[in-house]
Every structure is written in structure tokens, then in C-alpha cells.
Amino acid sequence: MLRKGSEFLLGLFFSDEQTIIYDHIKLSYDLPKETVRELKSMSFKFLGPLFMTRSLNNQSQWKIEYIETSLTPQSRTKVDETLMQSFTCLNTLKKTAGYITSLFTFIGSPYTEDIKIIYEKLDKYIHPSIIQGKLIAQTNYDVNFNLDLFIEDELKRGADLIEHTLGSPRKIYWEEKMAYSTVGIIKRTKKDGLLESDLYTFDLDDPLRKEALDHIPSYYFMGILPDYYEKRMNETLSLFGKDGLYSNIIKIKVSSQNRVVIYMEELVTDADGKTSLGLILIPDNEKVKESRDLFFYKKKLLSMLNKNSDFERSVIELNSRINPFENWNLNSDESFQNIERSLDNKLL
């Protein structure tokens, strides 16, 4: 449970096959009515890329499990442990009786939340309870059954259940100790309000480039993720009256059946802006094998952000097959189309 007086925001969204979105929002503070109305469009912005993942060419059912960010206050004068310091999005997709449903939540809290337990509550309890309840009601042909009310009620229960979990001590799970390999590095810099993002990965003619495509949704998708969601989160925070807070991506987890991709990022800020470095990591397999756990990569990222660090040398240390001298720009539609045509092309 959160400490009394803690600041939090919690949004829970359910969408069915007709992309009808139901929502339930809980806040520890008041918002103007017009702002609440605007919140309705927020879910579409968050869910957009989720639907996009389904339309990927490789037919795989990839989903974003979670996006974890830390929050930086614009001014550092006020320090209070009850203020929001993390912002997390979690999503579950389920295919039942031929159609897909999505249950999505975003949580702002003063703590680094235990994402795994919240994700399990969404995936194993809240989401199935909506699907099961709906099926029971539809089978009964109950004329008095109101689907909207039912889903809204389940979302309220779900939001209460998640809220009850907030503030629980975070555990270290075996996933964090698993061995991963780097298949891409994203460097993002924001100076004077201008964002510049680049991807470093295998050369086009390196067989590992194609091999990695079997383990990630696509280079295009991994490249678009950090900027897209950081922007969405900042918009959400602003909508919730938290203009003074900025989100910084910590970790993103994407999965498809038995496949998992972790994107983890660290940043440094200075007077001009910020520089972030992120790694696209896949679990070790026979062809891509570096055998290092997430703690190693976190430390490595922090050392790479040191001003005296040699970027090219560090990239080679991470994975000698990644080319640190050739960057793939991530700033325009054209550059993404280029990635799609080349990096994501298995025939090349």
C-alpha cells in the first residue's frame, strides 16, 4: 500500500476487437472536468503502437509488456518522498474465441514499483476476469446484462487491486539474472529542445542482422519505441497537471510467445539537455551469445555515458559485430522507411 498522502495516478483501459475502449482513472488529486474529457483520447495514443505490432510483416504476435520510466522534475528545489517519481505502462493482449483484447494500464507513483507482480495481476486475473465474465453473460442471454457497466465495474475492481499493490517492495526476479546479448544500441540526445536519435547495429551483410530479426519484432519497431513512448508519457503527465515532470525510459519489455526483447536505457543530463544510451537485448541463444545479465548492462551503460568514455570501443566490447561507426538515423519517416527497406529486409 502507498503511504498516506502519496501522489499517484492510475489509468486502466480495456479494448475489444472493435477497438472500443473502456477506461477507469484513479488519482490522488483533483483534475478539472475538461481535462478528464481529454484523457479519453490518451488511450488511443498509447494503444496505437500496440495495434501496429500486430500488423508487422513477420506475422508474429508481438506485444509490449511494459514500459518503465523514471521522472525528473524540472526544478529540483522541492524534494518530497510522496511525490511521483516513476511512471510505468503495462499491457496484456489476449486472443479469445478468435478476437484480440487488450488491457492496458499506466501508473505514476512515488516508488519504483514491482512491475512483475502488477503485470501478473493484469495478465492472470484482471484481464481474464473481464473475458470470462463477458462470456458467461453472453452465454446466458441475459437481457438485463449491460456490457458497458460490467466492464466499467471490472476495471474499477482492477484499478483498486493495482492500487493496493502500489508501494510494495520490489523483488529481484530470475529474468534479471538471465544472460542477454546486445543486438542494437540507441543513442538519443536532446539539446536545446532538438531530439536526435540513432541506431547502431550489425552491418547489412552480417548474418547476425538477419538472425536477430528472428528474435525482435523489427529494427524499425525497436527504433521507434523509446522516442514514441517517452513523448506519450510526457503528454500524459502534462494532461494530468504534471507539467514540471519529464519521463526517462528505464526499461521496455516486448514479447511474443517464447521470445523476449528488453530495451534498457540510462541517461545523463547537463545544462544543455540530456544524452541517453539504450541497449536492445535478447536472451542468449546459440548464434548470439554474450552471457551477461541485466546488471552488467546497466553498469556498462552508465560507464558509457561518462564523458571520458570511448563510445566506439565500448560498443565493440558489448558486441564486436555491431558497427559503431555507422549510424541509422531515427528522426524522420524517410529514415524509418530506409530501415524497413534495408535492416528489416531478410532478402538482402
Binding site: M1, A97, E120, K121, K124, Y125, P128, S129, Q132, G133, L135, I136, T139, N140, R157, G158, D160, L161, E163, H164
Partner: protein, 335 residues
């Protein structure tokens, strides 16, 4: 795999349970296997009569898969009791804003995974209302009223459905769990923190939790009796004190309040059980039931003089220790 996970989470000592079961089997050769299992479950403080247990076993025996026997079901019933204790401890310590949150949280944390595991015991034809009935029985609080299986089944049949679409059973287990466990969780939620919370230290405002049920462990009592039967050597008073101390301390915790009525039956049954299991065959001149009766008389006498029915664990240990020590000393004297 599933069983391994559950043994890790809610371990039941199957070896010890097996030997307890065999002891009961050896003592009751005239009974059939179902009656023996019912008797065995009764000694495990399941909380209902052997006749009622027998009726439940008869009903669910027909529904078990061919790989599972009635004794497997009995072990799961014991495990369910253990889960209930863990759940009760958790729910009383948590501060929920609403009953539905308590229900959802408890199902998610304690019963959802167990449900998957428990379903492996039964045929896929077992209906959802039968599962919700089963939950109401095996997670039944010990002090509750007697169980009327037919009535429970009828009640659940009217509320819990099995949905079959295109010949395939649809997963509705969360609703089955909600239905089966709602009364129990509502009662526990409403019970909340006991009304007679004691404030030990007015400055620290220390709140004492209610008693969490667990088992008595009387291995030292058992060993002491066995030792006597083999060696016939005089037992030192200190050894008696240590054995009784261990027995009582395994149950009572310092700073926790216990209600006498809630543990006396368990105390009598466990103490008699450990004494009896310590006896070698040539010393088993009386039945375990008559041993329990003797112990009951002593405890009833103690109850008559009891001024407070609710005391801290340490107080109970001090009060009951001389009674049990006197009993066991006299018992050995007459062997």
C-alpha cells in the same frame, strides 16, 4: 512440475502424513479404506465429523482421474487447510479499502494457482459448481457449522455454470473461485482486526495481531515416550519440562493473543496423537480415543478454573505447561 512448485509454496510433510495414516490404518483394521481416510482427515483437524468427511469423499471419489487416489485428495484437503492459514494471516494483516479488493487480492495471491493444480486431480467432466462447492468445503474455517454436501451442491448449481461452446469447456475459473470463496473472504474481511486489540505500550501504540492458527509439534514428547518404552529408565523432570515446552512453544507465539476455545480441541488431539505415536506396540493397551478422553477431562477441569478465555501465547504456555507435564508424568507412571 506443478506439484513441485506447490510443495515449495505450501509444503505438506507427506512422509509424516503417510505414517500417521498408516498408524490409523493399523489401528482400525475393521474399517474400509474410505472410513480410514475420513478418520485420518478428522485427526488432521479438518473441522467436520468423520461422517460428513465420508460423504464428501464418496462424492468426489468418483470424480478423480485414474492416476489419483482418495488419499491424494485427502492430502490436498490438508494442504488447502495450510493455504487457508497462510491466507488468513495475510488478510488480517492487510488494510483493504473494499471487500472486493480483499476478494480479488486473496484469489490472485492464494487460490488462483492452487486452483490450476487442484483441477489436475479431477476428471475434466467435473462441473464448475462442483469446484465451487469443493472450495467451500476444503477452505472451510474450522469453527464453522457442519457441512451439508447436498445443500451446498444445490446452492452452487444455481449460481455457478459450466459453459461449453462448440463442445469445448470455456475457462471461467475466476468466477468459480469468486463464487466459491466469497462468503469465506467476506467473513474474514469483516472480522478484520479483532475488537479487543490490546495496546501494549501507550507510547509506541503497538498493535497485537490475532492468533494465526498453526500445528503443534510434539516430536520431543513422542521421542520421550518411545525412549521410556525401550529403556524403562526414570525420566528426569527437566526432560518432561523441555518436551512440554517444545510442544507448546511450537504453537503459541509471544505477543499474540489466543482464544482458548479455538485451540483446545487441537491441543488435546495433537498431544494425544504424539503420546500414542511414541508408544511401542506392547504398550498400546488403550486406544487413542480413550487417551483423548482422559486428556479432555484434565483440560475441562482446567477450563473450569479459567478466569480469562483470551490470553497472550506466553501466558498460555505458562498456564498449560504444569497441566500437561502432570498428565504425561502420571501416564508414564502407569505404563
Amino acid at each position: 512440475m506443478e506439484e513441485m512448485q506447490f510443495n515449495k509454496l505450501y509444503n505438506i510433510d507427506k512422509e509424516r502424513l503417510h505414517s500417521n495414516f498408516q498408524r490409523i490404518q493399523n489401528l482400525n483394521k475393521d474399517l474400509n479404506s474410505k472410513e480410514i481416510i475420513a478418520k485420518f482427515l478428522y485427526t488432521q483437524s479438518i473441522g467436520i465429523s468423520t461422517d460428513q468427511i465420508s460423504e464428501i469423499l464418496t462424492y468426489f471419489q468418483k470424480k478423480l482421474t485414474k492416476d489419483n487416489e482418495l488419499l491424494d485428495f485427502a492430502f490436498e484437503w490438508i494442504r488447502a487447510n495450510k493455504i487457508r492459514l497462510e491466507y488468513k494471516k495475510y488478510i488480517t494483516l492487510n488494510d483493504y479499502q473494499a471487500y472486493t479488493t480483499a476478494l480479488d487480492d486473496a484469489i490472485f495471491l492464494f487460490f488462483l494457482k492452487y486452483d490450476e493444480f487442484l483441477r489436475l486431480l479431477f476428471l475434466s467432466t467435473l462441473e464448475e459448481y462442483e469446484f465451487s462447492t469443493l472450495y467451500q468445503i476444503i477452505f472451510n474455517p474450522k469453527q464453522s457449522e457442519s457441512v451439508n454436501l447436498t445443500e451446498l451442491l444445490e446452492k452452487n448449481k444455481a449460481k455457478v455454470q459450466t459453459i461449453i461452446i462448440d463442445g469445448e469447456k470455456i475457462d471461467t475459473k475466476i468466477y468459480t473461485l469468486r463464487e466459491g470463496l466469497s462468503d469465506m473472504i467476506r467473513n474474514d474481511y469483516n472480522e478484520g482486526i479483532p475488537s479487543d486489540i490490546k495496546i501494549l505500550d501507550s507510547e509506541k501504540q503497538l498493535v497485537i495481531n490475532d492468533a494465526i492458527e498453526k500445528d503443534f509439534d510434539g516430536t520431543m514428547v513422542e521421542r520421550l515416550i518411545k525412549f521410556y518404552c525401550f529403556q524403562r529408565r526414570k525420566i528426569d523432570k527437566k526432560e518432561f519440562t523441555m518436551a512440554i515446552n517444545q510442544f507448546l512453544s511450537s504453537y503459541f507465539e509471544f505477543g499474540v493473543f489466543y482464544d482458548f476455545n479455538k485451540f483446545k480441541e487441537k491441543l488435546v488431539s495433537s498431544f494425544a496423537d504424539y503420546i500414542y505415536s511414541g508408544l511401542t506396540e506392547n504398550y498400546k493397551v488403550q486406544s487413542i480415543e480413550s487417551l483423548q478422553n482422559e486428556l479432555n477431562l484434565v483440560i475441562e477441569e482446567f477450563e473450569k478454573n479459567l478466569k480469562q478465555i483470551r490470553l497472550k501465547g506466553k501466558a498460555w504456555i505458562e498456564d498449560i505447561k504444569p497441566i500437561l507435564q502432570n498428565f504425561i508424568e502420571k501416564f508414564i507412571e502407569h505404563l
